[in-house]
């Protein structure tokens, strides 16, 4: 893996080195987005990191500065690890993390189970149909995410259309408690993040050479088996990408559990919100955000390692 990545990097550098104006142009094209990321991602992240090592204080902002002038030619850097020990020591936070990972994991699984057949159907649909179906997947993005979650509140409410239909048909005698349940959270999660699953899967399936399936059939492989032997292994990259794109934002999701979940739906996004706005405890909120980031970065690295090992085996 390292040698492959190494040669790729060497080639990229070689290409960049070039000469004269074209090289400057290339560096510029690369530098602009990196500058943007540094300004609006790295700097805010460092601020959050700083706050996480700070202490609460009644002021605006409600944190102590970590670097202070102690007089007598001394700058003092005071790092409070207490926020992290507090976060790790408290069962509430651990439960919130575990619950978030579980909700995100199950949502990702359902998104995959629903998204794969969808993506497959779109990729195999005839020309014009494919464009229409593809547009339909992207269409929800034309409306605000918040509005769509609110729409689900309306649909799932006690007097909402779903309960209305169920009552009319006599399937239930009393309106079901749909809203403010875990079911509503999962529904909202899968609904909201499904397009992020479908798009990379579509790209991967669409690229698959159909003659490979014909070859499999020709060699005596039935269609279902060919799916697991040929189609799935060759679209694995799409599965990984889709799962990451759903799982990562789902772990830190705040809006869906807040609006659709019940008071006992404990998710880390909500806990961070409560610490920040409710308790005005910025340091603990920041520490939670940092821990969440480390966990997710760990997942991404793990997945990359798995993929790299497979590439190496190839």
């Amino acid at each position: 893996m390292n040698s492959v990545a190494g040669t790729g990097l060497a080639r990229a550098v070689g290409r960049l080195r070039g000469s004269g104006r074209s090289a400057i142009g290339r560096w510029f094209v690369i530098a602009v987005p990196y500058f943007w990321l540094a300004l609006f991602f790295l700097v805010p992240f460092l601020i959050v990191l700083k706050i996480a090592f700070s202490n609460i204080q009644l002021s605006m902002p409600p944190v102590e500065p970590i670097v202070t002038w102690a007089g007598d030619k001394v700058f003092q850097l005071r790092l409070h690890f207490s926020n992290f020990t507090f976060v790790f020591g408290d069962d509430l936070y651990r439960a919130a993390f575990l619950n978030s990972l579980q909700v995100a994991g199950i949502s990702t699984l359902f998104a995959l189970l629903i998204g794969y057949p969808m993506a497959y159907g779109i990729a195999r649909a005839p020309g014009t149909w494919r464009n229409i179906l593809f547009l339909l997947v992207v269409l929800p993005f034309f409306t605000s995410f918040l509005l769509r979650v609110y729409a689900w509140m309306g649909l799932l409410g006690r007097n909402g259309p779903i309960n209305g239909v169920l009552l009319k048909l006599g399937i239930v005698a009393e309106p079901l408690q749909l809203l403010q349940t875990d079911f509503a959270v999962y529904l909202g999660m899968v609904y909201s993040y499904l397009p992020f699953m479908v798009l990379p899967l579509y790209t991967a399936i669409e690229k698959l050479d159909l003659t490979l399936l014909e070859a499999a059939a020709d060699l005596g492989c039935r269609p279902t088996k060919a799916f697991f032997k040929i189609t799935l292994p060759l679209t694995k990259e799409g599965v990984f990408a889709g799962c990451l794109l759903v799982f990562i934002p789902a772990v830190g999701e705040y809006v869906i559990p807040a609006l659709l979940g019940g008071p006992d739906t404990l998710m880390i996004g909500r806990v961070v919100w409560d610490e920040f706005f409710g308790n005005r405890d910025w340091p603990v909120a920041s520490a939670l955000a940092i821990v969440l980031l480390v966990i997710l970065a760990g997942f991404v690295l793990l997945l990359q390692k798995v993929q790299a090992r497979e590439k190496e085996a190839a």
């Binding site: 014909e214 059939a217 020709d218 060699l219 269609p223 032997k229 292994p233 060759l234 190839a314």
Partner: protein, 375 residues
């Protein structure tokens, strides 16, 4: 040349045909891709479907493999009607034009794939894969992935994968199409040798007539969904039954004429474009005065500076084009009528005063050289 498949003895005619295609038709909407094709192929033959793109040859092959369901007609293999049998249950394997090797599997896994589907015992799979890879000279490549192989090696993996199941019929779609010229020449003889060794019936689809002629015992020339002529390479080349076949196979000088002298043992055809008559030493089944086409291959002509003694089949013209190809030289000779003949002459002598531009030459051909076709 002695190993050319064309000269091998054909399979005994008494046995029932191994593959029988009966009035097969395939329509895609309004378009008729294959139109009422009937064909019989004996066991162990290399049969080649030859035609330009869109002639229906690939559709016919795909129907044999089971990827397309015929609109009408039936396919029998070894006496069994397989028309409705899905591809994964047919005793037929195919070598794809793109090879369609599974990129996520090793060479050995690719070759073993078909055997795995049939639940062949593990030890036997291993033995047969090893044997097959040795046969296609790829022993030692078991652990490679397809992308680590050259084009020729991939072609042989595809062949091994298709042959390892010992199919009754092997279909090959442009088997040499993706190889460069040197490799093709080597591979086509290997392919014929392998076929002889295994005795599997081959059906090959190609648009390349040279490939068809070197590989096939018999060729079927296809056009617009129909087979125009079936015959050995020699028959197809020397005795084409139609204008299209004569024109499609090899290079040919084609002209129109009128039957003027119609005897049982010879005919004369008046060809205004040539400015004379063509004498043919056999009869034709057309009425006198019928309009016919006359086809003469470029290599059938003899060029000379001095007038030859013959009276018939003699023309003179001016050399307007010369292409020296080493083994032969191609000339363009313009007749007084303005018609330009393609003439190929072998370069027999190293030191020879070759014909030059604008030189006047005599052209003569044997009475058996011209092919008369009526359609």
């Amino acid at each position: 040349m002695s190993s050319s498949p064309a000269e091998r003895a054909p399979a005994p005619a008494a046995t029932a045909p191994y593959v029988r295609i009966d009035r097969l038709t395939k329509r895609f909407g309004e378009f008729v891709a294959v139109n009422q094709v009937s064909l019989e192929i004996p066991r162990g033959e290399i049969f080649c479907l030859l035609g330009g793109s869109g002639c229906g040859k690939t559709t016919l092959l795909r129907m044999l493999a089971g990827f397309e369901v015929p609109s009408e007609g039936a396919i029998y293999i070894d006496g069994v009607d397989v028309t409705q049998v899905p591809p994964y249950e047919r005793p037929v394997n195919m070598m794809f034009q793109s090879y369609a090797l599974f990129p996520h599997m090793t060479v050995a896994q690719n070759v073993a794939f078909g055997l795995r589907q049939d639940s062949v015992p593990r030890a036997e799979i291993e033995a047969r894969v090893t044997e097959m890879l040795a046969l296609v000279q790829l022993a030692g490549y078991e652990k490679r992935k397809p992308h680590q192989l050259s084009g020729g090696q991939r072609q042989r993996v595809a062949l091994a994968r298709a042959l390892v199941k010992r199919p009754k019929l092997l279909l090959l779609d442009e088997p040499l199409g993706a190889l460069d010229k040197k490799l093709r020449e080597q591979t086509q003889f290997e392919l014929v040798n392998l076929q002889e060794k295994l005795g599997v019936t081959f059906v090959i689809v190609t648009h390349d007539q040279e490939e068809a002629m070197t590989l096939a015992a018999r060729i079927g020339v296809m056009r617009a969904g129909q087979i125009l002529q079936v015959g050995t390479p020699t028959e197809i080349y020397e005795f084409p039954n139609s204008r299209f076949v004569a024109d499609f196979i090899g290079s040919v000088n084609m002209t129109e004429g009128r039957l003027v002298d119609d005897a049982p043992d010879h005919v004369r055809i008046d060809c205004p474009q040539l400015g004379g008559t063509v004498y043919v030493d056999h009869g034709v089944s057309s009425p006198p005065d019928a309009q016919v086409s006359v086809a003469i291959r470029p290599e059938k002509f003899q060029l000379s500076r001095d007038r030859p003694p013959q009276q018939d089949n003699l023309l003179s013209g001016v050399v307007t084009g010369i292409a020296y190809l080493g083994d032969v030289t191609r000339y363009l000779v313009r007749l007084p009528t303005g018609f330009v003949l393609k003439v190929t002459a072998p370069n027999v002598f190293r030191h020879e005063e070759r014909l030059a531009h604008d030189e006047t030459v005599w052209i003569h051909w044997h009475a058996s050289a011209a092919v008369v076709v009526t359609r």
